[in-house]
């Protein structure tokens, strides 16, 4: 790349290669980089990998499994970060086809985390000759890794002048590495930021070059602290560069079939998005008002589900703030175009005060997390936090949920100004939340404690401040060590399972069943719930195997969808995926095969968790705040509903009972229900009552490899 940069870049290791052509969605090789000994090599993609693990998260899990030991911790050198898109990733004709999947051992959960992220890195990595990149080891000094598919060169380099925070680093890398204007189009970077190194909630920013805004944009692999692992390895950035992307760069088996399916969805979005979710104008913030209307929007650390100030931060507000009329897809051809941005935002606090920046987002989760859940209903506060979370490399979901937890602890008297170093962290105090974030960026003060996440804060508050461990367990919205994403699931048992019975922790990307369960009452029995908690996690896992985004599946639906036999599945779109996979890879599949593909990888991940010492029934426990009212004020806020349940389900007369007695009776019932749900779901998934995949399940799925069986046998 550019010669002007040589003065500030010292090459520590170099590997030359000739990028193989992509064939039917695969290059046939993955890139291995070890930062401890500066080795770089190519690994072949085996038939087993393609057959059983498909790509994306599947490839990531397979490579990680072989890279780590049973006792590997997140900050051990052998922990890896693996990034892979998937066979469909990189087609340009179907919306949502450019995702990257990242896996690593998480500093929050000590098990595998997987995160699905937009931006151009994954597809460009493939077009630079690699189905994935696997990074192991720890650098002695800060490095960047440059993968140049055009010159056929991979380098590990020191770049001491490169800034750390993403909004600066992204620009710097483009300035330094792009020789011509056009080079920017086909470059993408991965970076974290200063906050990622001081907390456990670090995220990764994946860039895309926005030609209309003439600037890089960033999408986040948010969950589970992957950015923290990235900074622990002393990586400032990964950079990939490929030749120009063309409509056939992915060399699919049947391009005509892809064009047919793709243009049909483009037209569907064109015709119906305005009357359905207005994703093209508002993006995911359209959900804010809907969640509030259904009492599902987290408010004050998930105590409540709605707030009178919600109209100040709902989709209408963001539609007015987002620049309209731009092709805001995070990969080519995504006409759902939900990657909106607020342009020319003037930063008002912290080290970048006064800079005019692009704020990528905010997405629904950010608005609900750092907004309503913290009682913050000022859109400018939300933007400020969104911007700094991204550039510091901090996950907005964990930040929002843990700040809400801190605020409740503050209001409950567990924390005070002395303990927080002067921050008055009450609900609604945007300035205090912003300063907490800056402390995370600097690695100072209470921000450093909070940045460890809710699970570790709970331990700390008990040991240091003598807090009541049961109360903290009840209100701390984390499971497996990961902070909850932003939906109130108290009144939906199925969604309690959708959060709790997951592989990585409470992130709604496995299942979002609240409407089916709570609103439409389509899942009345345990068997119904178990079936949904089998089908949807498996179906949604599939997006991460192939490089797809979930949103074009059900954030737009065909107008006749409601008349199909299973509207919740969006049958026409499921068929689109069957067509796409078959057309790209040349392997004809059915919709049942699609589930089977996911099931193999999903169960492999469960076994991986077992191998790392978790992954059993006890690890699927959830906090009571996600199941029912922890406090009197919560009970009273929905007293009518709860009293009715006591009367109708438990045959109790609430009239003669104190609120405490009513809460205890309701709690006993709801906790039992969750245990029964576990039984039903484990059985449906082919697991033992302890949540361990049975040998016959592994065999049926064709993942009964000796090393997998050996792990499971210890628990049978």
């Amino acid at each position: 790349m550019s010669e002007k940069t040589q003065a500030t870049r010292r090459v520590l290791a170099e590997y030359t290669y000739e990028a193989p052509p992509v064939e039917r969605g695969y290059t046939g090789q993955t890139l291995y980089v070890n930062l401890s000994d500066n080795t770089i090599s190519a690994k072949p993609v085996t038939d087993v990998m393609k057959e059983k693990f498909i790509g994306g998260r599947g490839f990531g899990l397979w490579l990680l499994w072989h890279g780590v030991k049973d006792d590997t911790k997140w900050n051990d050198p052998e922990n890896e970060i693996v990034i892979s898109s998937g066979p469909i990733g990189g087609i340009t004709q179907y919306p949502g086809s450019g995702k990257s999947l990242v896996v690593t051992i998480s500093p929050l959960t000590d098990i595998v985390i997987d995160s699905n992220v937009g931006g151009h890195f994954g597809p460009l990595l493939k077009f630079a000759g690699w189905d994935g990149i696997e990074i192991q080891g720890k650098a002695e000094e800060e490095v960047i890794v440059v993968i140049d598919g055009v010159s056929g060169r991979v380098t590990i380099e020191e770049a001491p002048d490169a800034p750390v925070d993403t909004h600066l680093l992204g620009h710097w890398l483009i300035e330094q590495l792009a020789e011509k204007k056009e080079d920017r189009y086909f470059m993408s970077t991965v970076s974290a930021g200063s906050g990622a190194e001081h907390t456990r909630i670090g995220c990764l920013n994946f860039s895309l070059y926005d030609r209309k805004r003439k600037a890089p944009r960033f999408k986040q692999a948010g969950r589970g602290g992957i950015g923290t692992v990235f900074r622990d390895k002393r990586i400032k950035a990964l950079v990939v560069r490929s030749g120009p992307v063309r409509g056939d760069s992915n060399h699919p088996a049947d391009p005509e079939r892809i064009a047919r399916v793709g243009t049909r969805l483009h037209k569907e979005i064109h015709d119906y998005d305005d009357e359905q979710n207005r994703m093209r104008k508002r993006g995911t913030p359209y959900l804010v008002q809907i969640m509030d209307d259904y009492d599902l929007l987290p408010v004050h650390n998930f105590k409540f589900g709605s707030h009178s100030d919600t109209p100040k931060i709902n989709g209408d507000v963001w539609e007015a703030r987002f620049t309209q009329g731009l092709p805001d897809g995070c990969w080519y051809g995504c006409t759902m175009a939900c990657s909106h941005a607020v342009d020319a935002y003037t930063v008002r606090t912290g080290p970048y005060k006064g800079q005019k920046v692009i704020v990528d987002g905010p997405e629904y989760e950010t608005i609900a997390g750092v907004g309503s859940n913290c009682g913050i209903f000022n859109p400018d506060d939300i933007l400020e936090i969104n911007f700094y979370c991204d550039t510091y490399g901090i996950d907005t979901i964990s930040f929002g949920t843990l700040t809400a937890f801190v605020m409740e602890c503050y209001e409950a008297g567990i924390l005070d100004k002395e303990k927080t170093g002067g921050l008055e962290l009450t609900f609604g105090n945007g300035e205090a939340a912003i300063e907490l974030l800056h402390q995370m960026g600097r690695g100072e003060g209470f921000g450093k404690i909070a940045g460890q996440g809710i699970r570790r804060m709970k331990e700390y508050f008990v040991s240091e401040y003598g807090a009541d461990p049961q109360f903290l367990q009840d209100i701390g919205m984390e499971a497996k060590g990961l902070e909850y994403s932003e939906y109130v699931c108290k009144e939906s048992l199925a969604q309690q399972g959708g959060y709790g019975l997951t592989n990585k922790g409470p992130q709604h990307d496995e299942a979002w069943l609240i409407f089916m369960d709570q609103v439409s009452n389509l899942l009345p029995t345990f068997e119904d719930k178990a079936e949904a908690l089998h089908y949807f996690p498996m179906f949604r896992t599939w997006f991460g195997l192939v490089g797809h985004c979930k949103l074009p599946w059900n954030d737009i639906v065909p107008p006749d969808n409601r008349y199909t036999d299973e509207p919740a599945k969006i049958p026409e779109h499921v068929q689109n995926y069957v067509e796409l996979f078959s057309a790209v890879t040349g392997r004809e599949i059915t919709k049942e095969d699609l589930i089977a593909q996911s099931e193999a990888v999903y169960n492999f991940q469960r076994v991986f968790n077992l191998r790392l010492g978790k992954g059993r029934r006890e690890h699927d426990a959830i906090p009571y705040r996600s199941q029912g009212p922890v406090t009197v004020e919560e009970y009273e806020s929905r007293a009518e509903r709860y009293d009715q349940q006591l009367r109708e389900i438990l045959g109790l007369d609430p009239e003669g009972m104190s609120t405490q007695e009513k809460m205890a009776a309701l709690r006993k019932y709801r906790e039992e229900q969750y245990e029964r749900l576990k039984d039903a779901v484990y059985e449906r998934r082919g697991w033992t009552p302890d949540g361990v995949p049975k040998l016959e399940t592994l065999k049926r799925l064709g993942i009964d490899f000796p090393e997998v069986v050996a792990v499971v046998q210890k628990h049978l």
Partner: protein, 138 residues
């Protein structure tokens, strides 16, 4: 700007326009490679589908491959096109076409070759201030 205009009353359905278009731009006689399509829908008069240069496709193009030239005609820079077909699905007139021989879509650029060859004088190149729906006489 100069746009194509079509008069269904005069059209005899000979499809010569489709042939001329594909010959002009693709050097083959193949209606599937024409940027004007004459549709016989059984009932009512024949209908023509072609670009009216409204430019709605420009906004959905993620690579700035689609642009309006100095004469107001919407054109595609093939070099910049990544073949995403967003424009195909978003064309309100369904006048952006694709063919399996290439990844980039194609459209009418008001070149007027079909007008020259139309035996029924059903086609014309006319000057308009703003784009209108196809089939509407100017």
């Amino acid at each position: 700007m100069k746009v194509l205009s079509y008069d269904p009353e005069l059209c005899v359905g000979c499809y010569i326009c489709e042939e001329v278009c594909s010959e002009t731009w693709f050097k083959v006689t193949d209606g599937e490679k024409s940027s004007i399509r004459i549709l016989d829908e059984g009932e009512g008069p024949l209908r023509a589908v072609y670009c009216v240069q409204c430019g709605e496709c420009i906004a959905v193009c993620p690579t700035e491959a689609l642009y309006r030239d100095r004469k107001g005609i919407v054109r595609l820079r093939k070099k910049l096109c990544v073949g995403c077909l967003s424009c195909v699905g978003f064309c309100p007139y369904l006048a952006m076409f694709i063919h399996s021989d290439q990844t980039e879509p194609f459209k009418c650029v008001s070149c007027g070759q079909c007008v020259e060859e139309c035996p029924a004088e059903a086609l014309a190149i006319v000057e308009v201030e703003t784009a209108r729906a196809p089939g509407v006489q100017v």
